[in-house]
């Protein structure tokens, strides 16, 4: 065994070959998933009540870009694509990416594969505030409606998400030594409280309000317009752009909080960054589309199983993976019971669960 020890100068020798390179390469994965995402986007944009073929789609895009001067595609299809389909697909991609990356980073932060954005109060806070608006809209929120127009619910929901998360974070600092476990427990406590208030509001709601509350809680991308896309884009964009910079720190966290600190990770700063970035992405998503469960929980898990647990791969992969899943889910949600729409939250869970269980089973089979 001691014979294995080599001389130190071996390091500088060019003998070290490509075998040294890490097996999990982020670039390759990004290409594969990116390609799948593109295919899903095209598929989603083409599918619907008014079917557009891929050839027509390229013509519509090329015409708009000025690459071709005339087009044989009907005006109606072009309008459907630009005004209805494309913003909706863009919104699905953005929200999916936001939910996916937030789920992955929070699982890393909590060192727990079953953590997701609901744990830090983002979702429940957004729900509660949205329900407030739905219930009290007419009476007290006149001024707000004037200010934010049709987006008052989204605006307030985002505030709710940010506020609840802030509350959970502050409480964890007051209640304990600020460790991750305290944060988790505070999240659960605040969630339960917010859930109870939400329940109370639901109890007091009349039939019409109850219907809108339920619908909001199940999530839908039905309200997608370019305005909502533009409202969500910066939040998700910042989250997706900056989160991968935290991947090294999140990897070190796997060794435990104190070991990570001894390798130079500032735990407090890391915690703040992850929570702020995750809240931005999820808060904005929940605000425009309601609560969409399961994506943030399952997508990171699938990516981890397929491409390894390193956070650089995991974060990027979960963003793209989330976008793929949500684009597909939204396509089904608006076609499966056409001309009506199925809330997307139902679909993600309904289709996601069997797939997830299959993955778990496959994982176990491989290990044996």
């Amino acid at each position: 065994m001691l014979a294995e020890i080599e001389r130190e100068r071996d390091i500088d020798k060019p003998a070290v070959e490509d075998r040294l390179l890490l097996p999990s390469s982020t670039g390759k994965m990004a290409w594969i998933l990116g390609f799948i995402l593109l295919a899903c986007v095209v598929f989603s944009a083409c599918t619907g009540a008014l079917s557009i073929s891929v050839k027509e789609l390229t013509e519509i895009v090329a015409f708009k870009l000025g690459l071709i001067s005339t087009t044989s595609v009907e005006e109606q299809k072009s309008i459907v694509f630009w005004v209805i389909r494309l913003p909706r697909v863009c919104l699905a991609v953005l929200i999916g990416a936001g939910l996916g990356i937030a789920g992955a980073s929070l699982q890393g932060l909590f060192r727990n594969p079953i953590a997701d954005s609901t744990l830090i109060g983002v979702t429940s806070g957004a729900s509660l505030f949205a329900i407030f608006v739905l219930m009290l809209n007419v009476k007290y929120f006149g001024m707000l409606t004037e200010l934010a127009g049709a987006y008052s619910i989204s605006f307030v929901a985002f505030l709710g998400a940010a506020f609840t998360t802030f509350l959970v974070y502050q409480l964890s600092k007051v209640a304990g030594e600020g460790g991750i476990t305290t944060l988790l427990l505070c999240g659960i406590a605040i969630n339960a409280f917010v859930g109870a208030v939400t329940g109370l509001m639901t109890y007091l709601a009349d039939d019409q309000q109850l219907r809108s509350i339920t619908f909001w809680n199940l999530g839908s991308l039905g309200g997608a317009t370019w305005t909502s896309v533009l409202a969500v884009a910066p939040f998700v964009g910042i989250s997706v752009l900056f989160m991968p910079y935290l991947s090294k720190a999140l990897n070190l966290l796997v060794l435990g909080e104190s070991q990570a600190a001894s390798l130079g990770v500032n735990m407090k700063a890391l915690k703040q960054k992850v929570i702020i970035l995750a809240t931005m992405g999820v808060g904005a998503s929940v605000a425009v589309a309601g609560t969409i469960g399961f994506v943030g929980l399952v997508v990171p898990h699938i990516i981890r199983t397929t491409f390894g647990p390193s956070h650089k791969t995991l974060l990027v992969g979960s963003a793209i993976g989330g976008a793929i899943v949500l684009t597909l889910a939204d396509t089904f949600s608006r076609t499966i019971v056409a001309p009506s729409e199925l809330p997307i939250g139902i679909l993600t869970a309904l289709l996601g669960t069997p797939f997830f269980i299959y993955i778990l089973w496959e994982q176990k089979r491989k290990r044996l």
């Binding site: 130190e8 070190l252 001894s262 390798l263 130079g264």
Partner: protein, 267 residues
């Protein structure tokens, strides 16, 4: 390299450490020994800057430990903790590469990867490189952690290695190899501070021994001067004999049990 002056640590009125002072020079192997709850791990946590001493000071390389940035500290010393549970299926290579994280920004250089390979071989686990960490045995996992700590300070001049019971779960050969490795590091002007439970190992490998009792330094100095039968009896409460067998380089500490007790064990 590291001067520890009158260090004390108190938590909720309970005094865990009190007035501990010693000075670690480059190239020295320090062993910290003491009974359970004597404050060994607390001391290591203070030296690694995980805990701040409530009194006294720790000066590392001429600068107060509190004034270091975490990342700068990570480039000068490595810490090996007592417990290292990892459930996610990272490969051994990825874990050891984490020791190189303080030294590169986004992607590891070829040199970082070469150091990882080197450190894996140093600890004798080159063949485990592509294995998944959670599938390894306890002793193997501990060796992976040793090699991660090694990778962290591989290129540092006058680095410091803090080990909290480094050989937990290792078999005889690898305990021996780990200590040999630590000795080898000290010969390159590294300082090693290790919590050691096996007094014979402390006697055999350490240059200096710090013996703690109830958070205070009970004895300090050369192993042969610190690890005497009277000291061991008053710190651990067990009477021992120190044997000097022929053909063996080091004295051996054995429990000095009464005949009655050894009689019952034979029954």
């Amino acid at each position: 390299m590291m001067e520890i002056t009158q260090v004390g640590f108190e938590v909720r009125g309970r005094r865990l450490l009190n007035g501990v002072s010693f000075e670690v020079k480059a190239g020295e192997f320090w062993a910290i020994v003491g009974a359970n709850g004597a404050g060994k791990s607390t001391l290591v946590k203070i030296l690694s800057s995980e805990l701040a001493p409530t009194s006294g000071s720790v000066v590392f390389d001429g600068k107060d430990l509190k004034k270091y940035k975490l990342r700068d500290l990570a480039r000068k010393r490595a810490v090996l903790a007592q417990q290292n549970t990892i459930t996610l299926s990272f490969t051994v290579q990825e874990i050891v590469l984490m020791g190189r994280y303080p030294f590169y920004d986004s992607a590891p250089t070829r040199r970082d990867l070469a150091i990882v390979d080197m450190c894996l071989k140093k600890v004798g686990i080159g063949h485990l490189k592509t294995r998944l960490y959670p599938t390894l045995s306890g002793g193997e996992q501990q060796r992976v952690q040793v090699s991660r700590a090694l990778a962290q300070i591989w290129e540092v001049d006058n680095g410091l290695l803090l080990l909290d019971e480094p050989t937990t779960g290792m078999d005889l050969l690898h305990q021996f190899e780990t200590f040999q490795l630590a000795k080898e590091m000290t010969s390159k002007d590294f300082a090693v501070i290790a919590v050691i439970h096996d007094l014979n190992q402390a006697l055999q490998y350490a240059d200096k021994v710090l013996m703690l009792r109830d958070g205070e330094s009970f004895a300090i100095g050369l192993p042969s001067a610190v690890l005497t039968d009277e000291h061991i009896k008053s710190v651990f409460g067990l009477p021992v004999r120190i044997l000097h067998p022929e053909h063996v380089q080091f004295p051996i500490i054995v429990p000095n049990v009464t005949p009655a007790l050894s009689g019952t064990s034979q029954l």
